[in-house]
């Protein structure tokens, strides 16, 4: 493997700016790595070779001409989740309904990446329309976890997390509706951040559950995630839910954290996220991480958030309800798949046949569940109650953050499970999101940082911060990352097994 693919994003950008290496060389090294290992990992649905090299060349031209770098990540390659539109390439959302669909516009996130000189290598695999926790719901086949190819890389953003862990890209973009950035980060030993809802534009992000969806950065280090966060975040008039407020100072916070001092920081351990259902190795790694935070000077207290127990059921009413409405747009008329248009079927019949052929089982389940929850007679009992639970969860967060600066928990109750293990049992699959869902319902910031191994598989610690206080989590995560690296013999990601390389 080329040493260039082992570098952090910040190092790559520095070397490119200093002319130690060209952006084209860096990009080619990652394209070569993809060609060598993606047959086994299947992180990518589309590799955008020519345009990636052209984007890298443009960065090199800037450097040669002495023009200032477009951003602190100019020349760094990135893997983009296939739920964000990018002109000139397919955006499939992992669905047959959108197979080969070429969007006529760039997502705001895509535009910002391009403007920052970030080199987009291609589009990553995902659970269909981001519905899932394992990437097994992709219509184009599962992605495999580089730590153990028989295991899932998390989901829905398993392509993005696996691309990082397989050293196919140093940066990736994910989207997190119930944990789809953080849980994949946890099970692949990478960093995944769900920013405060409304701080990263959803324009061009194909909607699953609009009140919960949020794009965010994925990386192998906390600082890299922070640098990417600042590239993609910020107010966007094209997204009416976008918050018009300054981007929280996450890079400065990551650098402050890296000084290794958490004195004066109050950390709350969530009482409800422990006990039955949490693997022993996960609980052990998390407890050790909390002790590490204490050793760094943080004050540790336990905080109860009783409504969090109802977060999972509330989520599986709210998200499917919004999805059933959002996915009505796939009607076979203006774009995407059309089935049965043979002159004999009406438009409604063509719609039904198309949706039956184009959607996978999990998407169909959630559309029907949402349709059920919003039906006359059930609305108050289900959707209405779920909205009340959402209020209670926000109140629990408010009360907790009145006492502590950040909350911590395991990111997900288990390590990466085996491919196929949960596909026949939707509720077992849904429980992977148990700890991540509250922050989607409340809209606050949350991230996952690697916190050790259990039986050779990565464990993640979740750090939750109040809305628009994303920097708090970065500071704690950066301090922890440094201490863990020192205590555990270097970055966790360096212990990922070597993948078999195709020649």
């Amino acid at each position: 493997m080329s040493e260039l693919t082992r570098l952090d994003a910040a190092d790559i950008a520095a070397k490119v700016a200093a002319k130690e290496v060209s952006a084209v060389e860096v990009t080619q090294a990652h394209l070569d790595r993809i060609a060598a290992v993606d047959h086994a990992v299947h992180a990518f649905l589309h590799v955008d070779t020519d345009r990636a090299l052209a984007a890298a060349k443009a960065v090199d031209d800037d450097v040669a001409a002495g023009r200032p770098a477009a951003s602190p990540l100019a020349g760094v390659p990135l893997a983009l989740k296939d739920v964000l539109t990018m002109q000139g390439a397919p955006t499939t959302c992992g669905s047959k309904v959108l197979e080969h669909w070429q969007p006529p516009y760039d997502a705001t996130v895509t535009q910002r990446l391009r403007a920052a000189g970030v080199v987009i290598l291609g589009k990553t695999n995902m659970d269909e329309f981001a519905m899932g926790s394992s990437t097994e719901n992709s219509a184009f086949g599962p992605t495999r976890n580089p730590w153990d190819l028989d295991r899932i890389p998390g989901g829905s953003g398993g392509g993005s997390s696996a691309a990082l862990a397989a050293f196919e890209a140093p940066l990736a973009i994910g989207t997190d509706t119930g944990g789809s950035i953080r849980q994949p980060g946890a099970v692949t030993g990478t960093v995944g951040v769900k920013p405060t809802y409304g701080t990263v534009s959803r324009f061009g992000l194909v909607a699953f559950s609009s009140s919960l969806d949020q794009a965010g950065p994925c990386a192998r280090t906390v600082l890299d995630a922070a640098l990417l966060h600042e590239v993609i975040a910020g107010h966007d008039p094209l997204d009416s839910t976008s918050i018009d407020a300054p981007v929280p100072p996450v890079v400065a916070a990551a650098r402050e954290g890296a000084t290794g001092d958490l004195k004066g920081v109050k950390v709350g351990v969530v009482t409800e996220f422990a006990g039955d259902g949490y693997e022993h190795g996960v609980a052990e790694a998390f407890a050790a991480a909390v002790e590490q935070l204490r050793a760094l000077g943080a004050e540790i207290v336990e905080v109860s958030c009783p409504s969090f127990d109802l977060a999972l059921p509330a989520y599986y009413l709210i998200a499917p309800s919004e999805a059933s409405s959002n996915l009505a747009r796939f009607d076979a008329m203006r774009y995407g798949l059309r089935v049965g248009d043979d002159g004999g079927h009406s438009a409604e019949e063509v719609m039904s046949l198309t949706r039956a052929a184009g959607f996978g089982a999990e998407v169909k389940r959630r559309i029907m569940l949402g349709t059920y929850a919003l039906s006359a007679g059930y609305y108050d009992a289900y959707y209405g109650s779920a909205q009340k639970v959402r209020t209670l969860i926000m109140r629990d967060f408010d009360a907790a953050f009145a006492q502590v600066d950040v909350l911590v928990s395991p990111t997900t109750p288990t390590t990466a499970f085996k491919i196929g293990e949960r596909t026949a049992d939707p509720m077992a699959m849904y429980r992977a999101d148990l700890c991540t869902i509250p922050s989607n319902l409340a809209g606050n910031a949350a991230l996952s940082v690697p916190c050790g191994l259990a039986d050779g598989l990565p464990v993640g610690m979740q750090i939750m911060s109040p809305a628009l206080q994303d920097q708090r989590g970065y500071r704690v995560a950066a301090a922890y990352e440094l201490a863990r690296n020192a205590a555990q013999g270097g970055p966790l990601i360096n212990r990922v097994p070597e993948l078999e390389v195709a020649h």
């Binding site: 059921p313 009413l317 008329m333 002159g343 039904s352 039956a356 289900y382 849904y430």
Partner: protein
């Protein structure tokens, strides 16, 4: 809480414009029943006087300036359509045979 019958799944599928096979009706009836039984826990707050939250960020009336800005051209808008005729979306007939 009510259980979800096969007939009810068929009704939901019709409402959602999803053609389902007989085998899918059996599969989904069992799975949806299990999921609904689990999510029905939220019913424990149904009687409590709690304001509902539909969105974590309370925003209202987000407007933009009323000025023309570029949109998609006709060619761009129809480029990915499953069927196009004379530069327009071609759709199947909208009425059933009996109409």
């Amino acid at each position: 809480m009510p259980s979800i019958s096969r007939d009810e799944v068929a009704h939901l599928a019709r409402l959602a414009r999803l053609a389902v096979t007989e085998a899918e009706l059996d599969l989904f009836a069992g799975q949806l029943d299990q999921i609904v039984a689990a999510v029905a826990q939220v019913g424990q707050v149904a009687d409590q006087d709690i304001p509902p939250t539909s969105h974590s960020v309370p925003l209202t009336n987000v407007f933009r300036a009323d000025v023309v800005r570029p949109g998609l051209t006709q060619q761009q808008a129809t480029a990915a359509a499953p069927a196009v005729e004379d530069g327009r979306f071609r759709v199947p007939r909208i009425l059933g045979e009996e109409a």
